[in-house]
Amino acid sequence: MDPRTSTARDLDPAPMAPIRAEHRPASAEDADTSPVDVHVTLDEVSVHYGPFTAVRDVSFDVHRNSITALIGPSGCGKSTLLRTLNRMNDLVPGATTSGSVTYNGEDIYAEEVDPVEVRRRIGMVFQKPNPFPKSIYDNVAFGPRLNGTKRGLDELVEHSLQRAALWDEVKDKLSQSGLSLSGGQQQRLCIARAIAVNPDVILMDEPCSALDPIATLRIEELMKDMASEYTIVIVTHNMQQAARVSDRTAFFTVDMDNERQDRTGVLVEIDQTDTIFTNATDPRTEGYITGRFG
């Protein structure tokens, strides 16, 4: 058995959710990762804000050590959905999540699961670079210090910054404020900060939307590089970005109910990125990707 699946097997006494047809490797390049290693599973996930349904009945699998992109028009709930994956939606007053999200075979919404523990395993990088108004070192050390780590912080900070491809640029000014860096550097600092907590899934909510093209390129290269160690789920407005970086792409759209004046996000389809971009099953996906709407 593939050694990478061992953690999932140990934690999961129940059988894995059945792998749907769309997950079966279609092309030759996927054959070596078979059988598909599912890291996170969403099953009939819906998110409500009070009476309003933001996302309805989303089910799909996130594969281990791959990049999954969530694309779709504004208001289709892709960011909302992303935030259900590490229970950040718990912090929004009035937000409720139904359905189940399974991480390594465990339901992260189970009663005995502490949302804080979920967020330590499933890290997050936000749309706007948001370093703390602290030094670069303290930014990276923030997460480990929350857990009481005191020894080995220097090595951890260095390793995290190296992993985020920022070390060479900041190694001589670790005591300077994180806010003194450029936007792209700040975002890589935020990635380093997330890595330092040692998660295995990293969620990225439009991580490049506030960055210039060169900084964007660096982050994209970094993401591709990180995918060997981490499972990455990225929300992006930029379809080219999804095409460039992701292994799989999920396309969401807005379901309009004119009678109730309701807009609800729904998953249209998810597949290998190549397939979504060249040979989508649903006409709505093709329409969005070719720019006919959205």
Partner: protein, 306 residues
């Protein structure tokens, strides 16, 4: 027409009038603008004038009698005598303000954190209502309330006049200012930062103590210092709580305490040159204290990163 000779509109011949031709009401609009600017300038001057007069009065009258001796000696027994100083009042004012800050700052910060972390919490509206009301309560009444609760032996704790009673009344004056200014400052901390902390697995108290409060620290310090400056300048609540003294008092309870404001009140009420001179110097000292605190507050506020 060839592609490489762009058409240049001729300002004389074009169908649009030249830029030098203004619209018909332009002159009237410019005039109104000038009148309004002048009116606003006058309004600003009117607002600043009383402050300027006050500062000038205090400086011109207080500078003469103000001296090293004034800061380091106590008042002579008779108001007729010149010389001497307000050492006991300065000590009392700083002492009571310090104790009041020790009481009101932690309480006020805690209330402000509560109001920002649980803006719709069960007690949030009650806390907001009471801080608003407390800001408007006449300060002499605060003194009366503290007198009834702490000083008086019949119905109160019977602590008697003194430092603690005075500090308690000052703390009540300072508390709503600390709460309100701290709440504003904590609200300024970007939600992004809290989100980032939660995203890294912080618990609510960790996000508050390690991110929100440090990020707001310069602003919080400013608010606290301004509240302390306000407290240091109060006199009315001390009449019934500190009572006043004619010597340096270091006891927390059991002996009436002196205060610059109280000494000034006494000095001005006597028809003697020496007492009045010292009262002016006392006013000058108070302005130095509050002005100094305000300047420190502004300097810290400027270092704020949010």
């Amino acid at each position: 027409m060839s592609v490489d000779t762009p058409v240049r509109p001729d300002p004389e011949a074009g169908d649009r009038p030249s830029l030098t031709v203004t619209t018909p009401n332009a002159r009237r609009r410019a005039l109104i603008s000038r009148i309004m600017s002048g009116a606003l300038f006058l309004a600003v001057m009117a607002a600043v004038t009383p402050l300027a007069i006050l500062l000038w009065q205090t400086l011109s009258n207080g500078w003469g009698p103000f001296s090293w001796e004034f800061l380091t000696t106590i008042e002579p027994l008779s108001y007729r005598e010149t010389g001497g100083g307000y050492l006991h009042g300065i000590v009392g004012t700083l002492y009571m303000t310090g104790v009041a800050a020790l009481i009101s700052v932690p309480l006020g910060l805690a209330a402000a954190v509560y109001l920002t972390e649980r803006p719709k919490g069960r007690y949030a509206s009650i806390v907001r209502f009471f801080t608003d009301v407390m800001t408007g309560v006449p300060s002499v009444f605060v003194g009366l309330a503290v007198y009834a609760l702490l000083v008086s032996g019949s119905g109160g704790l019977g602590l008697g006049f003194g430092t603690l009673a005075g500090a308690a009344s000052l703390a009540i004056i300072m508390l709503p200012i600390v709460v309100r200014s701290s709440e504003e400052m904590l609200r300024l901390v970007p939600g992004d930062l809290k989100q980032a902390a939660y995203g890294l697995g912080a618990r609510q108290w960790q996000a508050t103590f390690k991110v929100t409060l440090p990020a707001a620290a310069p602003g919080l310090t400013t608010g606290v210092i301004l509240a302390v400056a306000r407290g240091a300048g109060e006199t009315a609540p001390l009449i019934l709580t500190a009572l006043g003294a004619r010597e340096v008092v270091l006891r927390l309870t059991g002996a009436p305490q002196a205060d610059i404001g109280l000494l000034m009140l006494d000095g001005f009420r006597q028809p003697f040159e020496g007492g009045i001179e010292r009262a002016w110097a006392g006013g000058f000292t108070l302005i130095l204290i509050t002005l100094g605190l305000s300047i420190i507050a502004r300097m810290i506020a400027r270092r704020s990163q949010i």
